[in-house]
Amino acid sequence: MSPTNLKNKPSIEELQAIAKRVRRHIVEMTHAAGNGHPGGSLSVTEILVALYFHAAKYDPKNPNWADRDRIILSKGHACPALYAVMAEAGYFDISLLKTFRKMGSPLQGHPDRRKLPGIEASTGSLGQGLSIAIGHALAANLDKKDYKTFCVISDGESNEGQIWEAAMMAGHRKMDNVIAVLDANKFQLDDSTEAICNMEPFTDKWRAFHWDVREIDGHDMKQVVAALEWANAVKGAPAMIVAHTVKGKGVSFMENNNAFHGVAPTDAECKKALEELA
């Protein structure tokens, strides 16, 4: 199903255009805030755009609609991307984005479900989102509802043991209403994921935990959309999309440059980034 506020699903080209706008928002928001996490926001952009504008059903004007699909951003530091996509999707006005990380803003430094309607889970302590997603999915089973729960995790986050606890549980219970997307951008705060604690091969690991797995290029919108459609149709197992991405994607000097993990662009960098994303 498409978002309930959209008559027709956007084309791939339209999704790509939304993704470009989202990237501009990410650059502007983090620049205006003077801090935040642009790198992992830019890597997760296509994933969130495809989730909100193609795969999930929800009503931005009724964020607590009981039958909505759930979208949980477990890698909470990438919330600039989430806020930008939610603004584009109509949850709130785009002008609110400039309040990101400011006192009194519902756009907290990490997602806070108490502050912003539509945020399903308060995240920011890595590793927790997938367990919460399972809780939503179990509630669907108990209430005989057919909504799906999508959870976006990251490769660095997968260092956390709780991710694998949740992986075990959903796999053991064959929870085909749980869909996870792994934003594998190859970096974590201190260094590359390979250098800190190499988790590859992800696909083999998730298969061993009884998940159905598909590996894609997480910036190829056509692949992202197709993978989400595949995941929505998987029966008898939870679905994992391992999305290979580039940290800082779309801004030449941020791509694969881990200095932009948690550092905002300067005035000059912001200007240059927006030129590239024009």
Binding site: A121, S122, S131, I132, I134, A139, L142, Q162
Partner: protein, 312 residues
């Protein structure tokens, strides 16, 4: 000193009450981390298998799953030993329950040192302090079977996160007939005019015995069952402290951060008075029988009496 009458363990009261609540409220879901035969949540699972989820030995995931269920309007009760539920699930209780303001009921068993032979790794002397420091979480430590049944019912009805500690051994009877309880309202179980003993959990029975001993020595000690550590019943505390001017606090918990600290912190600001404490000192316990441990670590009526006498 009157001969003690024992009721069921508070963990049994928990499991049995859960099974009753399951009939009354279809939104109640119970989750355990492979200790259901010990926490007694199996009593619910036996009757309501569709609403009972054993996640396996994974406490962090246990709490996270409960958070998601609560966000969907369910009333999840989650259980494990106090040491494991609280210490292994703490970040999740902080983020996904307290900070998220979700209606999760966290009920542990095997609180304190009175679990006995399994040893210090299984004993929780930190849980009350850790849970009380989470904003918005009510923290409860019932004294006996009857009060545990009532407080579990109130926990189910309460809108918000609650932590309840239950115990392993049979609990001495404090309440022999049903009465009203309220979360956040202590019970003055014995009137006194010379001294006030504030206790919870197993120490309420010890405090009552201590009051009996003290009465024989001419000291009229009142006893408050402060089953709720947070929110603390400051009105009752102030009323009794003003009356007696001397307060002993007794709990089966570390002296750091539990009931002793809560009572001292409050009274020191509004009505400083002479105080003494009966609690686990800054140490872990060991393997022995529950009685041997309660004796060695100073959790007895005689310890309450000795603490009280320092104030006279």
């Amino acid at each position: 000193m009157s001969k003690r009458v024992f009721g069921k363990a508070t963990r049994d009261a928990y499991g049995e009450t859960l099974a009753e609540l399951g009939k009354e409220n279809p939104n109640i879901v119970v989750l355990d981390a492979d200790l259901s035969k010990s926490t007694k949540t199996h009593k619910f699972g036996d009757v309501f298998p569709d609403r009972f989820i054993n996640v396996g030995i994974q406490e962090a995931n246990l709490v996270g799953v409960a958070s998601g269920l609560a966000a969907c309007g369910k009333i999840p009760f989650i259980s494990s030993f106090a040491s494991f539920l609280v210490c292994k699930g703490y970040d999740q209780m902080r983020m996904a329950v307290a900070f998220s303001e979700l209606n999760v009921k966290m009920v542990s068993s095997h609180g304190g040192i009175s679990i006995g032979e399994d040893g210090a790794s299984q004993m929780s002397i930190e849980d009350i302090a850790l849970m009380a420091t989470l904003p918005g979480v009510a923290v409860i430590n019932p004294a006996d079977e009857l009060s545990a049944r009532a407080l579990i019912r109130l926990t189910a009805a309460h809108n918000g996160p609650v932590y309840v500690r239950t115990g392993r051994p049979k609990a001495p009877v404090v309440y022999s007939s049903p009465r009203q309880f309220e979360i956040g309202k202590g019970v003055l179980v014995r009137e006194g005019k010379d001294l006030t003993i504030v206790a919870n959990g197993l120490l309420v029975a010890e405090a009552l015995d201590a009051a009996e001993i003290l009465a024989g020595q001419g000291i009229q000690a009142g006893v408050i069952d402060m089953h709720t550590v947070k929110p603390l019943d400051t009105a009752l505390l102030l009323q009794e402290a003003k009356k007696t001017g001397k307060v002993v606090v007794a709990e089966e918990h570390s002296i750091w951060g539990g009931l002793c600290a809560a009572v001292a912190s409050y009274l020191s600001t509004v009505h400083p008075c002479k105080m003494a404490y009966v609690a686990i000192q800054d140490t872990y316990a060991e393997t022995a029988t529950p009685d041997e441990l309660l004796d060695k670590y100073g959790m007895r009526a005689v310890d309450v009496v000795n603490a009280a006498k320092k104030l006279f």
